[in-house]
Every structure is written in C-alpha cells, then in structure tokens.
C-alpha cells in the first residue's frame, strides 16, 4: 500500500462552499472525504463546488461518496458542481451516467499525457 493521503480544503467564496480535494480517492481515503462533506450536506439550499483537478485517481468507493453527497444536497434544495476532472475521472462520470444529473466541468486544459 502506498501513501494514504487525501487532503480536503474548504473555502467559502460568496456563499459557495468550495472544496479543493488533493490526492487519491479510494476505499482507504474515502471516509475522510465523506466526513468533510457530511458536515455541510444538510444545509438548506447549499451551493457546493468540488474541485478535483488534483485528484489523479478515484475508484468506485469515491464515486459512492459523491453520489451520497449529491443525493443529500439535492434533497435539501441545494446544488453540487464538480470541476477539474481529468480524462479518466470524466470517463467514470460519463459511464455511470452521473454526468447527466450532476453539474460537471472537465479540466480546462486537459493535458495530453493523461493516462487512458
């Protein structure tokens, strides 16, 4: 097992809860992310933006965290936006159909050496 590091930074900008996630999201690190997101998910009308531009890898456990967060926030009349997805992560959101229900923005300058 390599490093189990995941950092989640929370910034509030103009009433938007902006989360910057750095690291790999897998079964070992997902609980950290879940805990941070759970702290705000029940706020009425929450506007949340999750920046994943520094997440290289995420497995289905990570996806589970985002689905759970999306469901909770939507149920409370809020909005979730996910930004900065690399190709691999973007494909994951596409295959799962989640890109149809969650507001998603791909990485602006997707570099070409991203693994496929």
């Amino acid at each position: 097992m390599q490093e189990m590091n995941l950092q989640v930074e929370l910034l509030e900008q103009n009433s938007v809860q902006y989360f910057k996630v750095v690291g790999e999201i897998d079964a070992f690190t997902a609980p950290v992310l879940r805990e941070r997101l759970a702290a705000v998910e029940n706020v009425q009308g929450l506007k949340a933006e999750l920046d994943l531009s520094e997440v290289d890898y995420m497995d289905s456990t990570g996806l589970g965290v985002f689905v759970g967060f999306y469901k909770a926030v939507s149920a409370n009349g809020g909005h979730v936006k996910i930004t900065g997805l690399n190709k691999r992560l973007n494909r994951l959101f596409e295959i799962t159909g989640l890109n149809e229900i969650i507001d998603i923005e791909q990485k602006e300058s997707e570099d070409h050496n991203a693994t496929l």
């Binding site: 497995d59 909770a72 691999r88 295959i95 799962t96 159909g97 693994t115």
Partner: protein, 336 residues
C-alpha cells in the same frame, strides 16, 4: 495446577541460581510457554517467582520482597491488556466464523444456472478480491433466450451481498414478456432505489440473447461498456448505452440497443475489476484486453474468460485489487 507449575518453576530456578548456565536459562525460556498455555497473567508469574524465591532463599533482605510486590503492581495493567487482547482474538474468530457462514449463504442464495440455448456458448469467471464478492452474475433463462445481469455493487461485504439478493429476486419476479433490457433495469432500479442507503449503488449491464433471430440486446445502468467482437472483420466495438447507476434516481430511463451475432462473434461483459486493472506501471488500456480476447477468439467461451482472468491476475501478482468478473456470450454454429 498453578501449584504444580509453581513447584516446577522453583526447581528450574533453583538449579539456575546454584550454577547459572545457558542451558538452564534455555529450559526456563521454554518453560515460560507453559505460563502462556495456562493463561497465567504476568503479575501471577511474579508471584510464583516470589514464592519460589522465599522458599529457596528466605534469608534475603526485605528490600527484595518489597521490590517484588512493587513489580507485581506494575504488571497488573499488562495483565489486563493481555486479557483484552485475548478476548479480541476470540471475538475476531467468531466474526470470521460468521463471515464464512455469510459467504456460504451468498453462494447458495445467489446461485445461478448457466443458460442453455442453441447456438450460444457461455463462459464466465467471477473472482472476489476479498472474501465476499461485490460483483454479481445472474442468468435468466427462457426457452429461446438467455439473459445475463453483470453487476458491481459499490460498498463491499455483507451489505453488498444483501443488495445482490435484490437483483436476483427482482429478476426472478419479472413477468414473462417483460424481459427486455430497458424494462429489467427500470424495474430493478425502482427496487434498489427504495432499499439502499445514499452512498450505496449498483452498476449493472443487462444483455439478452435471442436464439430465434440471433440478436443480442442490451442496456446499461452506469456499467462498463461490453465489447463486441466481429469475427468477419476481427474488430471490436464498444457496446455502450445511456443509463444511470441503479439506486440513484427513481424514475430513470434506460436506453436499449441491439446487435446481430454471427458465427464466431462474441460479447465480453466485464466489471471495472477487469477494465481498471492496475499494475506497477499504471492502468492497463482497452487494447490490452482486446488483444487478450483476440488471442483466444477461436476457443470456447469459458476458455476465453479464463485466459483473460489468468493473464490479468498474473499482471497483479495474483493479488486482485478489485473483484474481477467477465462473462462471454459466444455465437456458435447451430447444432443439428
């Protein structure tokens, strides 16, 4: 019995004190195993030591006896921690037993029957990364058609196994004539959505081979696209269809598509344990999988599945990082 142990301890120690030798020291070390076997606590070992010493050398000064009493106090918490540790081990053994039972329940409850329709050769492998499998394969057999569900439950272990029983009983309860892939996924989605918690969901591919017109129709609920090999061209195409994961939104609609299978064509349906195989050099790509499949295109469906499995498991040094499932539907000439 402790008296017996005490007597033997005194004997061994007495011998050593008389003329200290490596050999007697070793005997003592071996003897300490008896303490552990008999679950004698550390503080009791010191009591035994003290009793033996009083009998052997009553002339020693009070400081020695007092220091041993002091040491006994020091050891009491070690003893408690040790007993806690032992009780944890026993609990863990009990949990392991329950896990074994759960795995057996999973195997019997979720058992599936290989399809048998003319012109279709079926093979599959589903290998869990840990004890309980989060992937699930279930065949639905009718007279002229074979359906297969390939599912990956997110969230592992026992909750995942319970989730699978929803898929199985949902499929078994389908009314005849309602087995088109879009219907199957729509119905199972409603069952799953009502029953699972928020961070749990299922990706599922449903494919159905119709022996009467040799078509394969399919729909996907957020699952990896299947691969379709066309024998006449030697090319692969991805079978993707729009559809959201099961258990996220109640009124989801699933797109259904179909392809015609000719002799020698096959469909490979997989979970992400196959497509997201991760090696020391990073992820494998789709070409790796396609090349593996192409190498054995003329073999039986089961041999194709096993070939892919053995090769990709080897790349991971036989330590799967995720549950691994591949199902092959291969069109073969009709038997007369």
């Amino acid at each position: 019995m402790p008296q017996e142990v005490g007597r033997q301890y005194k004997e061994i120690m007495g011998k050593y004190l008389e003329s200290p030798s490596e050999e007697d020291l070793y005997v003592g070390q071996q003897f300490s195993r008896r303490f552990i076997e008999k679950e004698i606590a550390p503080e009791d070992v010191i009591s035994i030591h003290k009793t033996a010493l009083i009998e052997l050398h009553p002339e020693l000064q009070d400081e020695v006896w007092n220091s041993l009493d002091f040491l006994i106090e020091m050891m009491i918490h070690y003893g408690l921690t040790l007993r806690e540790h032992q009780s944890l081990i026993r609990k863990q053994e009990a949990i392991q037993m329950e896990m074994n039972v759960a795995t057996k329940v999973q195997d019997t409850l979720l058992k599936t029957k290989m399809p048998c329709v003319s012109g279709l050769d079926v093979g599959y492998i589903s290998q869990p990364a840990t004890q309980m499998n989060g992937d699930y394969v279930y065949f639905l057999n009718k007279k002229h058609e074979s359906g297969v569900a390939v599912a990956d439950v997110i969230g592992k272990g026992i909750p995942a196994a319970l989730c699978m029983s929803m898929i199985k009983f949902g499929m078994d309860g389908l009314p005849d004539g309602n087995t088109s892939p879009e219907n199957v996924l729509g119905i199972i989605n409603r069952i799953v959505e009502k029953s699972v918690d928020d961070s749990m969901f299922i990706s599922m591919f449903y494919g159905k081979y119709n022996a009467e017109d040799t078509t394969f129709s399919y729909a996907s609920a957020g699952h990896e696209p299947a691969l379709h090999f066309t024998n006449s061209t030697g090319e692969f195409s991805e079978l993707d269809a729009k559809g959201l994961l099961l258990g996220v939104k109640p009124d989801t609609e699933y797109e259904e598509r179909s392809v015609v299978l000719n002799d020698g064509d096959f469909i490979a349906m997989m979970t992400d344990g196959v497509t997201e195989t991760r090696t020391e050099d990073g992820f494998i790509d789709m070409n790796t999988i396609q090349n593996l499949l192409r190498e054995v295109k003329d073999m039986s469906a089961q041999q194709i599945a096993e070939h892919v499995y053995h090769h990709l498991a080897e790349l991971q040094n036989y330590r799967l990082s995720d549950d691994f499932t591949i199902v092959i539907f291969k069109k073969e000439p009709e038997q007369v």
